[in-house]
Symmetry: C2
Subunit: 222 residues, 2 copies
Amino acid sequence: MTNKETQKNISKAVIRRLPRYFRYLRELIRLDIARISSKDLSERMNVTASQIRQDLNCFGGFGQQGYGYNVNSLYVEISHILGVDRNFNAIIIGMGNLGRALAWNPLFEKRGIAIKGLFDIDKSIIGSKINDLTIMSLDFIEEFLKSNNIDIAVITTPKSVAKETVEMLSKFGIKGFWNFSNAEIDLPNKDLVIENVHLGDSLMALCYEIAKKTPTQSVSEE
Amino acid sequence: MTNKETQKNISKAVIRRLPRYFRYLRELIRLDIARISSKDLSERMNVTASQIRQDLNCFGGFGQQGYGYNVNSLYVEISHILGVDRNFNAIIIGMGNLGRALAWNPLFEKRGIAIKGLFDIDKSIIGSKINDLTIMSLDFIEEFLKSNNIDIAVITTPKSVAKETVEMLSKFGIKGFWNFSNAEIDLPNKDLVIENVHLGDSLMALCYEIAKKTPTQSVSEE
């Protein structure tokens, strides 16, 4: 069984890999596969079997010699560790193109996260609807947060106002931030959690790989 | 000077960190800071100074004892290694909410990438405009790629058609894919490069951290 103690000992690197296990296990459940060996899982995931055994051993180990992993229990356990079974509530701050794209995105629902409010400061869009939600004025955020239990704020504001937005929201009790603003934000206290998404970093990693395969004339091998 | 040989020896882990250096250096340039010690950079970036020295030594080392790093040359060099100075061309396939959000996003321009075409199969949106570009029918993609030199396809299609889309585009010569579809795609050949963006993984990592800080009753410490 997972308990607080075990959770504390899982390294960040393993945690970063867990969502990937989660995705593959969900796929296996969809395919009606009830158990899988570390070897089969390693072929599907393109990771070594020993890496898989090591990772999954970190939180107790679910595999049995000669049987493999029980897909469903592993899925349930990883969901639990990742907090996917916790039904968090979220709001989105900044309803530009990215905020809108996220508001429509099924990824929240898939992970048990309910979007409870959409906020902006632009009067021309306040009052308009996305799905069942009406975009509200950020002026009402304090009031809204008093009567709604919100765990996560998705920050899709411009970079220039992201820091003050996070500070304000943390004063009103929000503890988790999913930050798309590209601002580097030092959190005001240790109870808070921020996850920064730098799409540009991912794009640069891609450019690097392409540049490596198609050298310019100045760095050509010929 | 960077050459093909040095590039080959940089580990994936370092490459993953380079975009972050790139961002901080750009910020320093904006602040008119011409040189910086590894200690100062380490405080800004919240990384150890020895990590910084180790990372930047990987490609020759730009620091001088007692002087620190020349911000501008380091920026230029890292841009070059990352291929940011290469002026790649890209297209976006799938003009749903995420495709639209990306089409508007300044991150491409910032990294020297020009969006040259937007494609979809939905007749109700083909012909409509985003910025200066008209959404085109995917039926014309082969023709389009014959007369345009495209390096990167951004895949924002539904998951179910992502694999076939990548296979088709690779037949028409595209070598780089920025994949937002959540599909795991095995590339048909080794000349191709794919960078998968799993926003859900990032969201789950956030949920994990929140769950760890706010245990449920069943795993409570009390």
